[in-house]
Symmetry: C2
Subunit: 240 residues, 2 copies
């Protein structure tokens, strides 16, 4: 049983947990390329999926020590250039490519995210614990009204989740024991890694993160402290 009074801070995964990256990219790039002269038509859902698929391998090269730490914006840009070639999207200016890359700064929250987090923030410290870089999180939060108390994660730790340093450094920056931190994520692997570091864990169900029902991560694995329908459900469970 999780005692809500034992928790001081909630640390959040962001992509997929707080924001709906796939629908946001589909909508944003669809509008951008439709208005462009000349317009470009592609399956932007497939484009988003292919871009996201390059995400873990790109971070893995950093995690494994094969390259030094770089911001996620840099990895997104490298992966975007590959994606543009694969989808045969020609002749974008560098300003256009930069605008497209920054779509990750313009993601929309799931409908329950900001209302639920606003309730949670009354009682708890809310910190991002994302592999996104600080400026990405700042831009996203400012645009979408996400009520962070602190932006932590990969760039402040210079380590990508699920490396233990990413979790442990966040707790250390909050001057908290890991057991006083509740990791909130829609991905069991993230929660298992946090739990190994001593964090408590809350799963948020995002069955349509990939646009169609997921084949895994539909519910919390055994050992996860809370299995929540959404952020409002989490706020209910914690008595906020």
């Amino acid at each position: 049983m999780l005692d809500p009074a034992s928790i001081k801070a909630l640390t959040f995964d962001v992509f997929g947990t707080v924001v709906d990256w796939r629908s946001s990219i589909l909508r944003d790039l669809g509008e951008f390329f439709a208005k462009r002269k000349p317009p470009i038509e592609r399956d932007w859902g497939k484009f988003a999926d292919a871009w996201r698929k390059k995400y873990q391998p790109a971070m893995e090269r950093v995690r494994s020590g094969n390259r030094g730490f770089v911001k996620l914006d840099v990895l997104h840009m490298e992966n975007l250039r590959e994606n543009l070639a694969e989808f045969a999207i020609p002749d974008l200016s560098e300003a256009e490519i930069d605008h497209v890359n920054r779509v990750w700064h313009r993601l929309d929250p799931w409908p329950d995210a900001v209302p639920g987090m606003t309730r949670l923030r009354r009682r708890y410290i809310l910190a991002s614990l994302s592999n996104g870089n600080v400026s990405l999180m700042v831009d996203m939060a400012k645009r979408a009204g996400i009520p962070w108390d602190a932006i932590l994660g990969s760039e402040t730790a210079r380590a990508f989740k699920p490396q233990p340093e990413a979790y442990l450094r966040a707790a250390e920056m909050l001057s908290l024991e890991p057991a006083q931190c509740l990791m909130v994520a829609a991905h069991n692997s993230d929660l298992h890694a946090a739990a190994k570091c001593g964090f408590r864990t809350a799963f948020i169900r995002r069955p349509n993160e990939y646009g169609k029902p997921k084949k895994y991560d539909l519910a919390a694995d055994a050992g996860i402290d809370l299995d929540c329908a959404d952020m409002n459900d989490l706020a209910d469970r914690l008595g906020c």
Copy 2:
């Protein structure tokens, strides 16, 4: 001339610039020790001054490389123990000493700070660039409603101002050029150090930071971009 459109983020000194540390400590400790059993009476203004006087020398031991980076909470605690001895305050429990040390987490903003910063936040990213640690800044902001977009500074840079790393790492985390950042402080030395790193600079007049009119830092030195009466004046100057 400073073009407000050239600035993307405002980075703030906090102790003395955003919050009135001396009055806050005087009030907080006065109330705490008056209610204590048995109560303890001292000149809490002098106590605050003596505590603050140990601040720069303690950071200097880190800046000079004589000791590794530690959070400001740790330096405050070491200095507090010395102060308690010097003011002959006996027999506090460790919980009481911890509560007293955390008075720096409970500082009140100057009356113009939150209203002015709320206006500034509509147009700019607001980030702390303080020698205070992250949890200190989070606790202070949550209690006082200070509207940060990001908490940066010594702990994220692992360097204390005026070391260049403190400023440069903040700009880097915001993915901005230093010239897109406006350092806001009530201390000319902080602004000169920021300017050397390429930041633009705004002075905020806090003549009573030490309870009585200061002998220096009454106005901006030559070369500082803006000399402001308070945060609302800064918001006016930037057209917010």
